[in-house]
Amino acid sequence: MAERLVFFLCALIAISTAVGVVASRNPVRSALLLVLNFLTLAVLYFTLTAQFVGIIQVIVYAGAIMVLFLFVIMLLNLGSPEAQLPERELRRPVAWLLAIGLFIVLVSQVFLVVGAQPQPLVEAGTARTIGYAMFTRWSFPLLIVAVLLTVGVIGSILLARRRSA
């Protein structure tokens, strides 16, 4: 019973914050609502026995990526009222219709998994198991992600560098 209560509370917060991210006209508020959304998703990950992934979600998404977003918003001063861009009024209803259609298509596939039984294994979510799997079975994808991150860092430095320098 407690699990369901936690799920419905988190789902409620996640849905309302996600709607808020899109509906808010102020980028700073969007970013803050998205942080809240990520935190509730982390709680949901904990209920799915994924404690390591959940805490990494908080560290990477809430702690680093969203701080970077806020940093850029403030650096470019996009949060002030005069800097806000007008919405695309015409595209708006079309976009919502498309989104609803996408949602229906996705949910229509949910009945395929109705009979699935949860098999909670606590050790699947520990750092030890995940680390072992990552450095043995998934070591090649790990290397690719590492190269991608390095390239991304170098690329962003090149992009942000002033031309005159």
């Binding site: 700073v28 390591f52 805490i55 809430a62 940093f71 403030m74």
Partner: protein, 420 residues
């Protein structure tokens, strides 16, 4: 979860929160007094014994101050920011063990204890960042931007420093990290505990962690986000009354929590520095009145040692603040990215060498690393340009008129005769 477990959990929460809130005025008083001694002043000494009640008086004063909201501030976020800076400081201490009794401490002995701390400390950036942005003040905004860049940069160094602790103890669980440090030193010396700081990688890691900890809590010499002399207190400029007090409390609680993490990871947590208690051995040999005394001290010793180490680290905070000047922004970034992160990576690699190939290979590795650095530094250094700088005072010594006159009546007379 049964009702009894819930009750014990509430007791644990109450202990941690009670300690954090109760130690807060003490730490503030201690910082002011110690800083005053460093600067050859007296410090607050009027209210109560040794001025101990001064923080309480300050709190009362802050509570009764008028609250001023700047024009065009984003009201909601402006009110949210102090709470956001207080929240992580309050909850981050949940995984720190204060003693061996698992019923009383820590609040949650989870598998990912130290990552939980990293997550909560990374959330601390939001309070400063949003306070700076929502105040609608350029100084505040500059403070907020500095704070976010600083916290992101030093998070990496802190993560590397903690990674050495994780790798050395083989666990993310903080109680296990303490248990590993309870073993005899280097596996051989029986009386001394195996604190991580007594190993080369632990020493480097602790030094890294200490620097990063100063930066993460926005304390001097890394207090650029508030820099009262250039940014007029930065993100705090527009805050007054209770909201200012919330930032103040958040900062000191973060100092306490992060010191607790350093004590647990590098300084042996609640363990005594020597595995030998004279009272205990007296009780074993003599017995009698020493037995209850020994049990009492055995029960009180772990929190005592923990608090002693915590107090020492808080003193280090004040010491550094009284000694070092604030860094310039580019110096801060250079230190974070070009010094701390490479050192942390090399240290981590050498710890891995130790774990795989033994201590001899690791020591050779440390020797190689230091030697290569020395070679690089020597090759890079230019001969010092020597220039004679004569102080003005040396070139033009000041000779008081009175001594000239008092050299003798004759000289005075002679002067008068010469100049008419």
């Amino acid at each position: 979860m049964t009702l009894g477990e819930l009750g014990w959990a509430l007791v644990r929460v109450a202990i941690v929160l009670g300690f954090l809130l109760g130690a807060l005025p003490l730490v503030i008083w201690f910082e002011r007094r110690a800083l005053a001694w460093f600067q050859n002043r007296i410090g607050p000494n009027r209210l109560g014994p040794f001025g101990l009640f001064q923080p309480i008086a300050d709190a009362v004063k802050l509570f009764f101050k008028e609250e001023i909201v700047p024009a065009n501030a984003d009201r909601l976020i402006w009110a949210l920011a102090p709470a956001l800076s207080l929240f992580p400081a309050l909850v981050a201490a949940a995984t720190i063990p204060w003693g061996p009794n698992r019923l009383l401490t820590p609040v949650a002995d989870v598998e990912i204890g130290i990552l939980y701390f990293l997550a909560m400390s990374s959330l601390a950036a939001y309070g400063v960042l949003l306070a700076g942005w929502s105040s609608n003040n350029k100084y505040s905004l500059l403070g907020g931007l500095r704070a976010s860049a600083q916290v992101i940069s030093y998070e990496l160094g802190m993560g590397l420093a903690l990674a050495t602790a994780i790798l050395a103890s083989g666990s993310l669980r903080m109680t296990e990290m303490v248990a590993v440090q309870a073993e005899p030193l280097w596996g051989t010396v029986p009386f001394l505990p195996n604190w991580l700081i007594f190993t080369p990688w632990g020493l480097v890691g602790a030094a890294l962690f200490f620097v990063c900890m100063l930066a993460e809590t926005n304390r001097a010499p890394f207090d650029l986000p508030e820099a009262e002399s250039e940014l007029v207190a930065g993100y705090q400029t527009e805050y007054s009354s209770m909201k200012f007090a919330a930032f103040f409390m958040g900062e000191y609680m973060a100092v306490l929590t992060i010191s607790g993490i350093m004590v647990t990871c590098f300084l042996g947590g609640y363990l005594a520095p020597i595995n030998w208690s004279p009272l205990q051995s007296l009780a074993e040999t003599v017995g009698g009145v020493f037995v209850p005394l020994a049990t009492l001290t055995a029960a009180l010793a772990p929190p005592f040692w923990f608090l002693l180490k915590l107090g020492f680290l808080v003193f280090m905070f004040v010491w550094v603040r009284a000694t070092l000047l604030r860094l310039r922004y580019d110096q801060l970034m250079n230190l974070g990215w070009r010094v701390l992160i490479p050192v942390g990576l090399v240290n981590l690699a050498l710890l891995a060498v130790y774990l795989l190939y033994g201590w001899l290979a690791a020591l050779v590795g440390y020797g190689l690393a230091i030697g290569l650095y020395a070679l690089w530094a020597v090759g890079r250094s230019r001969p010092v340009e020597r220039r004679r700088v004569i102080l003005y005072a040396k070139a033009h010594p000041y000779i008081p008129r009175q001594t000239r006159a008092s050299e003798g009546q004759n000289a005075y007379v002679a002067q008068e005769v010469l100049h008419g």
